[in-house]
């Protein structure tokens, strides 16, 4: 304890040097912690998107690609309202290689009473659905009734509340778990409800350009599951040839695009972390090298007072470890302040699925960042400790005199 108090006094008496060491290691720790959290959140978001996207192919009206990219709809919750004839569902089911097909109808609210922005309302068939229903089943253990809605985790309303869309009151019966995608900001309802809402929108003078004039004759997207053993690419080509005024898109392609973007972002983050580390380690080595000259006389006095070389190098290493550990702790705390409150901002800036890891995993990353940073600090200080412990007290003190 007495020796530890000597280390503390050494650090306190040189506030500039101590602060510089703490700041440098904090810098290293921030980069490791923030980088790890962002990359792991992106990976988790991609996994979640893969799990949620249970379909192999999505059939959308040909105009949908120009009106609102389906990828943007899924990733960023971009509002997309496009319609095609409901008879397309039958045509899809007739296509060779199709196992299941489930239709969805999209509608954008004017301004939901919850907020100042539009929300995407998605109508689906609970009895045929294999995309949304398994996900909803995690939060709601009964079928969705008329004028009942399930909301994404980012729609700010609670279960049991009423949610007004086009002056119609819908009852919120469940809130979904986070997916890290744009679907977290969507509202889900059954087909009867969506048709009532389409009608309400028409009454408000908001035209959705439905060619047939009948709301119940339209769908926005058809999610397709191919038969096991069938080639999704071939089925996709058949669908493109079979259904007029519609485009079939393979979800695998969409996922590959997202995965490519993710690996790009991960690569950039890795390069940034590496640059920060190289720079900070170089500075750390320079600081320690300067310390050798600065503390030569001080350590010579310690040697004259009876400290062994081992004790001396141990003391320097302990000082370095303490500074590095404090810096690493501060860095993790700063990283947490920078990353967690701004999760939504990071997600919208990267335009990629982003799902923050569980608290246990975050704690593990924090421990990892602290350990790595402290180890790097100690490693940088080892050589200095060895050099300083070899100081010959007589020569050093004579030189200074």
């Amino acid at each position: 304890m007495k020796r530890f108090s000597l280390i503390l006094r050494n650090l306190v008496r040189k506030p500039g040097r101590t602060t510089a060491l703490v700041l440098l290691t904090a810098f290293l720790s921030v980069s490791v912690f923030c980088g790890t959290i962002v990359v792991s959140s992106l990976r988790q978001g991609l996994n979640s998107m893969e799990n949620r996207l249970g379909a192999d192919i999505i059939v959308v009206p040909a105009e949908a690609e120009s009106k609102a990219s389906l990828k943007n709809l899924l990733l960023q919750g971009t509002i997309g309202t496009f319609y095609m004839d409901a008879s397309s569902v039958e045509k899809v089911l007739e296509t060779e290689g199709v196992e299941k097909a489930s239709a969805q109808v999209f509608l954008s609210s004017m301004k939901a009473d919850c907020c100042s922005v539009k929300v995407q309302v998605i109508g689906f068939e609970p009895e045929n659905d294999f995309v949304v229903q398994p996900w909803i089943a995690e939060s709601l253990n009964r079928s969705l009734g008329d004028m009942e809605v399930v909301v994404g985790c980012r729609v700010e309303t609670d279960v049991g509340n009423n949610f007004r869309i086009y002056d119609r009151n819908c009852r919120v019966v469940a809130k979904l778990a986070a997916t890290g995608t744009g679907l977290d900001t969507a509202v889900y309802c059954n087909m009867n409800t969506i048709h009532m809402l389409l009608q309400a929108a028409e009454e408000k003078g908001i035209s959705h350009k439905i060619d047939s004039g009948n709301d119940s004759d339209v769908v926005s997207a058809i999610y397709v599951k191919v038969l096991p053993g069938s080639d999704p690419g071939l089925v996709n080509s058949r669908l493109n040839g079979h259904i007029r005024k519609a485009t079939a898109i393979r979800t695998a392609g969409m996922m590959t695009e997202v995965a490519d973007s993710l690996s790009g972002v991960s690569g950039t983050i890795a390069v940034l972390i590496a640059s920060v580390w190289v720079l900070a380690l170089v500075i750390l080595f320079i600081v320690f090298w300067m310390m050798v000259n600065e503390r030569r006389r001080e350590l010579a006095v310690f040697r004259l007072l009876g400290m062994s070389r081992k004790m001396l190098s141990g003391m320097i290493l302990k000082e370095t470890a303490l500074c590095s550990f404090t810096g690493a702790l501060c860095g993790v705390a700063l990283g947490a302040v920078l990353v967690f409150p701004f999760t939504a901002l990071i997600e919208s800036s990267l335009k990629l699925p982003y799902l923050t890891p569980a608290p246990g995993t975050i704690v593990l990353y924090a421990v990892f960042a602290i350990t790595v940073t402290t180890a790097a600090g100690c490693l940088a200080g080892t050589r200095t400790a060895a050099r300083l412990s070899r100081v010959d007290p007589g020569t050093t003190l004579r030189e200074g005199a």
Partner: protein, 135 residues
């Protein structure tokens, strides 16, 4: 010089809060120019920022430790209110993808919390100065 460290940091934070509240850290802006739900919260944050700026400048100018403690205490109160302004005392937009929820609210909470910590630090520093003066 050392005496003004806390005032300096407080003034810098107050400046960021004040300027940020009507620029990058401000409330949502509608394309049609209409007011968003969070506009009032944005204005209140601006007002709180101005008050802290004035308090920080006064702390710079006035040298008496007791007066400084009082000013830091006032700043502490304003900062506490500032933390609660966006979202607790005044509403922000309810969709958490909105600018006020993604940027203004977290940034202002962090800045006001930092200013609060600086104010507490300032009070402690002035108190230790009074104690040293007595001994």
């Amino acid at each position: 010089m050392k005496r003004n460290v806390f005032c300096g940091i407080l003034l810098a934070l107050a400046g960021i809060i004040t300027i940020g509240s009507f620029t990058v850290l401000g409330p949502c802006v509608h394309e049609d120019g209409s007011e968003a739900v969070c506009t009032t919260a944005g204005r209140a944050v601006l007002l709180a920022g101005c008050v802290i700026t004035v308090l920080a400048v006064l702390t710079f100018l006035l040298r008496a430790p007791a007066t400084r403690i009082f000013l830091f205490f006032l700043s502490m109160c304003v900062n506490t209110v500032g933390i609660l302004l966006p979202g607790t005392l005044l509403p922000v937009c309810r969709m958490d993808t909105m600018h006020c929820r993604t940027v203004m609210q977290p940034a202002m909470i962090i800045l006001f919390a930092a200013a609060l910590a600086v104010s507490v630090g300032g009070i402690l520093a002035e108190r230790s100065r009074i104690r040293k003066g007595r001994t």
